[in-house]
Amino acid sequence: MIRQFGWGEFLFLLEGARWTVVLTLLAFTFGGALGLGVALGRTSKWRLLRILMATYIQIFQGTPLLVQLFFVYFGLPLLGLKVDVWVALTIGLSLHTSAFLGEIWRGSIQAVPGGQSEAARALGIGYVHRMVDVVLPQAFRIGLPATISFLVNLIKGTALAALLGLTELTRSGQLMANITFQPLQVYGAVALVYFFICLPLTFSSARIERRLNADR
């Protein structure tokens, strides 16, 4: 007997959506921490570090996320690490995130008026406190809308985990479509779940951007 796509099947999709959220949070946390390093390196006074970080960003922005994930997935065993799809995806997505957030935050750091940094230096404040207490809080405000937009992209990007076999939202959809033979309804439902996860973020990003522009 063929199963119909009903409420129970929809709950199965939501079960998968939980892993989409977990994967997104993991990648955003690790990628964000690494991305801050990339952004600071990209805006540092050492030329070599700047070039290095620019190349790092260029590599991630110039190749498909899918290829990056495959690369990490097949590259990890070479380093002697056991391949676990969760580990590979977390590392792959975190590296991807770090490059994109690094580039966004570089822009925000550079958008902070230079006088702020100069004033801090004139007061004899060292690099760490200049960044942590003066530049970064202001850069955070400027970079917030773009960061949230990227978070939406990251949530959508985790759908690729389905192609590596992790049962998140999209993969749950694939499985359900195979069981119920109702791909139209199933993928429609999957799209709606993504939509309702992403839409509030998209709206808040637009609202924050409008408010920042109004301040000017």
Partner: protein, 222 residues
């Protein structure tokens, strides 16, 4: 790390990879052209006076922009046959990428059109230009020129995203790489090479789009 790299089987399969590159170029260029055209239609709907048209356009644009392209590809390829539309992998890929690109292009071009001052259109009318000519020369060309860099990044992003359509067996670069992987088991070498090819492709696209932009938009502004 005791792994002996062997790129020989990857390089030996260059005709396959070349075919993949051509497939990627074909599908992404077609989707770019169709996507931009459809995007302009959605943009016009989005800016129209009719509430219904505007609501439809906003609904479409937000729906596409807030769902993963992979799900859109699956929806077109696996879902549409249920309503009698059966497409090959490549057709489904081009359709899905076009629909995806249209939503982003609509928003980008709208930004450009909003940057055109009404005085420009009035000036065009005063010069006796036809409505069609006003749209073409006074509105669209300067509008697209104003947002051309954003449009180009969107196109390059879509070329990179075309790697996903390998999952519905559309014959592009990643599809052939996966085929090669299952024949030679040289996964790491293959995906490294694949990354390099995509990097070159995105540089190529960025240069080509730059040249097109310079040829098409080379007229004095002031």
């Amino acid at each position: 790390m005791n792994y002996s790299f062997d790129f020989a089987p990857v390089f030996a399969a260059w005709p396959m990879l070349l075919e993949g590159v051509i497939g990627t170029l074909r599908m992404s260029s077609l989707s770019m052209v169709f996507g931009l055209s459809l995007g302009i239609v959605f943009m016009l709907m989005r800016m129209s006076k009719s509430n219904a048209l505007r609501a439809m356009a906003i609904g479409y644009i937000e729906l596409i922009r807030n769902t993963p392209i992979l799900v859109q590809v699956f929806f077109v390829f696996f879902g549409m046959p249920a309503i009698g539309i059966r497409l090959s992998g490549e057709q489904a890929a081009i359709l899905a990428m076009t629909l995806n690109c249209a939503a982003y292009a609509a928003e980008i071009v709208r930004g450009g059109v909003q940057s055109i001052r009404p005085g420009q259109i009035e000036a065009g009318r005063a010069l006796g230009l036809h409505t069609a000519d006003i749209y073409r020369f006074v509105v669209f060309r300067p509008a697209i020129r104003a947002v051309y860099p954003a449009l180009c990044s969107q196109f390059i992003l879509m070329m990179l995203n075309s790697s996903l359509v390998s999952s519905v067996s559309a014959e592009e670069l990643t599809y052939f790489a996966q085929t090669l992987d299952s024949q030679t088991f040289r996964s790491f070498e293959i995906y490294l090479t694949l990354g390099v090819i995509y990097l070159v492709l995105s540089q190529f696209f960025s240069a080509a789009l730059g040249v097109i932009g310079r040829v098409y938009f080379s007229y004095p502004t002031k």
